[in-house]
Amino acid sequence: MMTSDTIAAIATALTNSGIGIIRVSGNEAFDIVDRIFRPKNKRKKLKEEKTYTVHYGHIQDGDEIIDEVLAIVMRGPHSYTAEDTVEIDCHGGVLVMKKILETVIKYGARMAEPGEFTKRAFLNGRIDLSQAEAVIDVINSKNNYALKSSVSQLSGSMSKKVKELREKLLFEIAFIESALDDPEHISLDGYPEKLKVTVNDMQEELNRAISTFDSGRVLSEGIRTVILGKPNAGKSSLMNVLVGEERAIVTDIAGTTRDTLEENIRLHGISLNIVDTAGIRETEDVVEKIGVDKARANADDADLLIYVVDGSCPLDENDYQIMNLIEGRKSIVLLNKTDLEMVLTPEEIKEKTGKEVVAVSAKEQRGIDLLEEKIKELFLSGEIDFNDEVMITNVRHKTAMSEALKSLSLVKQSIEDQMPEDFYSIDLMNAYEQLGTIIGESLEDDLVNEIFNKFCMGK
């Protein structure tokens, strides 16, 4: 939405480089940064400083010092957006930049939409007319991408959790609303106590979800890459080659890897979190069965699937199962064991899976460079800088969840203050909408539908 509220974003590339810039723009830019910036020498607030001045100090969240920074003050209309702007030059670590951005948001700014600085610059007359079309294109492509990545970056389990929470919220809102609409029919006696328990549970779940953002699986672990294949196809060997050490146990007995193994590697600057899984096959062995189920769950959460096919023996039922699993997913197929006599050809597999096929020998480390090329191509050569978007999305999701959490606290406050029940639904609705931004859904007609579907009411 276009408003003149204060927005913030990381303005530099999101790599571990020497310096990073967080830009804050809008009516309250100075007030917000003043809440977290402690100038080293002076007592003066940024708000009182002259335009185009640079100030040395620390960014702090309460007592916690986050980084040593330079803050640059630019008063509207003499800034990029023509609004009051502060640029925070910090150390260029990805985690530091992210932490500062989060702090700025915590203290009142809003995460900028893709292209929003440019859009504001344009709307405020800073950008030449001829650039208008270009601006539109930027907004369009970025928005389309952001939505796609926002949803795709959310792990399967996280998105499930968000959906569950929203369903719970909607049920409670619909219950309150149906009682308000049909008070002689549906009673709210004793409801506040019940709601308090439900809200507590939801808060706990949200807190748990938020804490996983801090350990940030994508940030610290990189792109989640899962190796799949039937037993003894050579998954562990491949993993060992990629990781560069004998980490997985490699034997000739099918079903050796019974649990999943995880390793983090950097490949041409891309951080990959590689998960070796138990071979997928129908099994009676209880321990191995757990491993197989876990492999499937892992595959659901993966950003990239590597399917290892044993080229020395014919395809079987297990292979076809895996082909089903990778359908429609970002994946690469490896035809392994070129060191042995091959009974399968790359063409044959390509036809069956519709995926790029790379012939390798994990044992003799042949063709591995081709695989690395493929992975790099998939994530870097395209229109996207994968790591950037993942990070931004990550902050966005976390912000939305924190906002939802805040709304739930307000619900609890309302219950404690003995406010009437209709006040609860205001904040429950906010929480619902916040969580909706994560999965790209808004309230719209959900509520009215829920009321009629779950509660019988009417004359």
Partner: protein, 640 residues
Amino acid sequence: MPCLTENYDIVVVGAGHAGCEAALAAARMGFETIMFTVSVDSIALMPCNPNIGGSSKGHLVRELDALGGEMGKNIDETFIQSKMLNQSKGPAVHSLRAQADKQAYTKRMRHTLENTKHLTIRQGEVCEILAKDGKIEGIKTFSGAVYYCKAVILATGTYLRARCIYGDVSNPTGPNGLQAANHLTESLKNLGIEMYRFKTGTPARVDKRSIDFTKMEEQFGDERVIPFSFSTDPESVQKEQVSCWLTYTNEKTHEIIRENLDRSPLFSGAIEGTGPRYCPSIEDKVVKFPDKIRHQVFVEPEGLYTNEMYLAGMSSSLPEDVQFAMYRTVPGLENVKIVRNAYAIEYDCINSRQLKASLEFKNIEGLFSGGQFNGSSGYEEAAVQGFMAGVNAARKIQGKEPIILDRSQAYIGVLIDDLVTKESHEPYRMMTSRAEYRLLLRQDNADLRLRAIGHEIGLVSDELYKRILWKENAIAQEVTRLEKKTIGATKEVQEFLASHDSTPLKTGTTLAELVRRPELDYVMLTEIDQERPYLPEDVAEQININIKYEGYIRRQMQQVAQFKKMEGKKLDEKFDYSEVKSLRKEAVQKLNLYKPANIGQASRISGVSPADISVLMVHLEQMRYQKPADSSEKVSMKNP
């Protein structure tokens, strides 16, 4: 062929709740108005439930009253029981509901219409709309008479090609066996108007003498009745009230229904129209909620003049014999005698997305519409639309801008905005959950919100307007005084607090802080507030609410400020969106179809994404740079 021709300013088609308000508003604004009805005896008829108001509908009536409508005054004079619903909840959801004496209601409204200057009532079926080059010219009746006019307001309710159905009986009539209007639909289609077919239903009316009330719970009205109208003297509505009665269906009832489902036209497919989910027939409820062992039945009197009672909660289109058997399973109705059968009714209405927010058709200048014809349901929803259509038709002739209430101003605004922007395939009913700023849109402050607008329209007197200005001022002054007035922990104060189970003071505080305590309120604090000025009850109520819920109100006002910015960015209704490159195809289609009046409305159209809105805004800005001279009439964007 010679025929009767006459000239009027405004023609109103229909004399239901929408038609009455439309005709009254137009005539009171000084325009020669003629109102057509298929039967003069059915003016302001209540063919379904015998009450006015209820959750969120009560809000609509109060808003209508504040603007200068008639419904509130009419029910105040003709109600036989009144109740403020949701009194234990927050002020935003308090809602007034009054049982009407149906005949008295109709009579009083007819009397008002008949005695309004500039207003002519005419019995006759309108069967053709005359329009040329996208502009209204007049109407033609079944008898061939032509009435030329500057504006037409369609308020045909459920009468267009109406069909009443129960079991395999199907009657081509309007409600209550009244004559249907079978010709107008064709004329509307010829004008390029898209029609829908909707359905609704009503329960049986039964003879009071055949009911055993000892098996039912009595439902009384409020001890102190609050009038609907802000100009009704509260003392005039304190009168003896009649009761309603509560009973329930049971497994036996449900069994009979389930056994006979195959004979219901709803399930056999004989009914093609779409019914509303919020007033499901009893057979719908039994099918949809199989786990519910009982459903509520509210037995309401139809008036003082009659023994007929209305069985709310049991509308049906089952065959007569099944109705008879099913009603007799309900406690208290074992020997009940049916006076009128329950039935479902199907009728033609329009896809309301063809209307502007002024309720004028986008493609036919001077043609307005309101009420169930627009795909809504309910007397109150109809009345407010009729009123707005009447006002805007009159203003069009005056050459003035239409009155458009937005979602932050009134439930009326929410209702109309939903109708003209949201896809809907069932009759639309107002609900408080549809209003996102409901804390501000309370029934108690409808006068503060809308009196000034009513005054500007010319339907609220100077005297009432002055009273509102005084009220606003009195509230503001007293709230400021309470926020400033500090109060010490004196013995008197501590004793007062103790007597109300309120925590004693440790240090001084303001009176406002004490008002905010859940166990206290403004009126209670009179005891310890020596400087308090005398203020009438309605003013005191506003002061209390403003202080008590100040935090919540402030938050909603912030949301409203954001909302207003988007609503302020106007769009040209003739603009061709395919000119905007980069808009997605779906968005172009939807925007061209709906032709939204502003960016805010555009953003509420399903299929238009936030990215599309951004693109649109950038494009608008671009246009503004290019055409600074005529930016006000062409595509323009008013900066907030």
